[in-house]
Symmetry: C2
Subunit: 375 residues, 2 copies
């Protein structure tokens, strides 16, 4: 009997006894603690194969190294992932070194996420992808123990998930037109800008579709006046927002663009964790939250709370990742204005099924935890 | 068979089938939705009898009017409460008027807290106690559906709850000394200041105990220089913080005190909801979060996230309330620096048992929801 059938069968049997009540869990969770299970962390490297060569303003590549994690607690396993695009400074080696420092055996109760993740965070500075790989696996585990998907635990409405954009990398006009056609399912396309071919890219795409576009400059523009002219040009061509137009260090120019732009300016490279979300107020119209930047689901959800309290726009983004990290990120998406969760769609060797894109819309699984099945 | 025994019995039966697994809940919760239960809100007025006449800077009284709410969903009932100390502007009449506007039958899934509570919040401005009475009952219900207490759902560590202060009201020296003796169990005493008897109060208390004190001025001081002198005098007498020393409208004077005070200055009347928590940065060292001010558990927990991200101190406070609203508030207390959750201890006709004070420490129940039993 595989895991899923076992769960369904257990549920039906349990349901018959409890007449549909689901208030029994506090007791079974307590029983689970009393068995003194240990939290066991394990990990293995994996290489994602990209369907297309991926080009942004600063680099090109065909693979992405990731680390796949598991946290076992009794019979339950939580799955996690760290994704390490090379330009962000982490690697399979650095994640391995970080994870070797983690000692989860000191914790008896996995639901004490705040305490455990404070410990993880304190093990070293940075290493946010490595930290996310533990955070995600722990969330998946705890969600399974509680028996609920995280969007429900957080009180969010699964029907409110946004559509996701789909990224069209920088390429020759012919390849770009082909990619746009292949992206027919998606309601919004994301265009990587920040080269001298920016207008050509947009015009090539506009020659085959009038779908809304969103753009990501990856800090590629250097002059704020030229940038503002370009933003006006883009806004006239149904571009919804501009991500990280200028270098993150140039706070004043980014703030000036935000003040003067007719469309939202979103901070990405400038906004890593919670403290950056606070600093983003007054500099950007909104923030792009990514688990690999902020250290995982817990910080991501706090950043949603903070940004919304500030009246800022919220976007959830990703790296190239399997459906593990994508599904994890998707649980905050009902509270986000925009999603850019195409990371698992860009790879040819995914090993999970979870959150899907259906008719362009982020569509959450209602399985507990982060909602995964292994494929 | 009473409710508790039924739950325990169901749990044991269920546990036997699932061999201790608690991953079945997503399925039973789904089944519960499929039965198309309606959310049914009901309420009744109740009057709390205070053990002692309660005197603060601006008023005295012997009772507190509250409204007790219930939200039923199938066989499960969530309990809530609004407390309306008269000087805060709400009353049993205003809460009744507000609750008559609430139509929960439009919602099928009680776990969609964000959507439901946004609707409640949008029904009218202010009315934060009325809103809290729905928020608390809904949290209690959802926690019971999920089968977990809220501190676990929020990932907090029950062992990290602070001690609670116990309030010694303004009274004659003889009565004050008597109250201090009765408060032997408590590790920290809270003293209401803001009258011309302030030093006498402190000296009377110091004549019988050297326990740490915290003080609440309830906006009672009018001159910042005199206030700072008084704060220094208090700090020398082992006072840990000063709550709302000056009128909330006098932002500059409160900020000046915060900058110059040797001990933390906590905003209370100035900090009602989430937006005030943001405005408190730079004005106060910390904030006093109360469910009746901010509209309930959801906003309270967001205010914790925001204040901690700002590096501010966090205190959780209360009105005179039954153990219902006190228990609800206590679920954020593991993340708080201080608690002032003595509200249910000040009344003689509590009708719930939940979070308790044991050896002065806030002690959470591990029952699901907000952790109540009716007594």
């Amino acid at each position: 009997m595989n895991r899923r059938n076992f769960l369904i069968k257990s549920s039906l049997a349990c349901g018959a006894v409890t007449a549909g009540l689901s208030t029994t869990n506090a007791f079974s969770l307590k029983n689970l603690n009393m068995t003194k299970n240990k939290l066991e962390l394990s990990w293995r490297p994996y290489t994602l194969d990209l369907k297309h060569v991926f080009t942004i303003a600063t680099s090109s590549r065909t693979t992405t190294p990731v680390m796949l994690t598991e946290i076992k607690y009794g019979d339950i396993t939580g799955y996690g992932e760290a994704s390490m695009p090379p330009y962000l400074g982490e690697s399979q080696e650095s994640v391995d070194i970080f994870l070797k420092k983690v000692n989860l055996s000191q914790f008896n109760d996995p639901t004490e996420l705040e305490k455990i993740l404070d410990y993880i965070d304190g093990l070293d500075i940075k290493n946010t992808a490595a930290k996310a790989s533990v955070d995600i696996a722990l969330h998946d585990l705890v969600g399974k123990l509680i028996g609920q998907p995280w969007y429900k635990i957080w009180g969010y409405d699964a029907s409110k998930t946004p559509v996701t954009s789909f990224t069209i990398g920088i390429d020759t006009p012919e390849v770009v037109r082909q990619k746009v056609k292949e992206a027919e399912e998606f309601k919004v396309l994301k265009v990587k800008l920040g080269r001298d071919t920016d207008k050509e890219m947009i015009e090539t795409i506009r020659s085959v579709t009038d779908k809304p576009l969103v753009t990501d400059v990856n800090q590629g523009w250097k002059d704020k006046h030229a940038a503002l002219d370009m933003i006006h040009w883009l806004a006239e061509r149904n571009v919804e927002f501009i991500e990280q137009p200028m270098p993150k260090e140039d706070v004043d120019s980014n703030a000036w663009l935000t003040e003067n732009s007719p469309i939202p300016i979103i901070g990405d490279e400038a906004v890593q964790g919670i403290e950056d979300a606070i600093r983003a107020k007054g500099v950007y119209s909104g923030i792009n939250i990514k688990l690999m930047k902020c250290g995982g689901m817990r910080n991501a959800n706090k950043m949603v709370t903070i940004a919304k309290a500030f009246g800022m726009k919220v976007m959830v983004g990703c790296m190239t990742e399997t459906s593990c990290a994508i599904s994890a990120a998707s649980h905050i998406s009902p509270e986000c204005d925009w999603a850019d969760l195409d990371g698992a769609l860009l790879i040819s060797n995914d090993i999970f099924e979870g959150t899907k894109v259906i008719n362009g819309k982020v569509t959450l699984s209602d399985l507990p935890g982060i909602g995964l099945k292994k494929i």
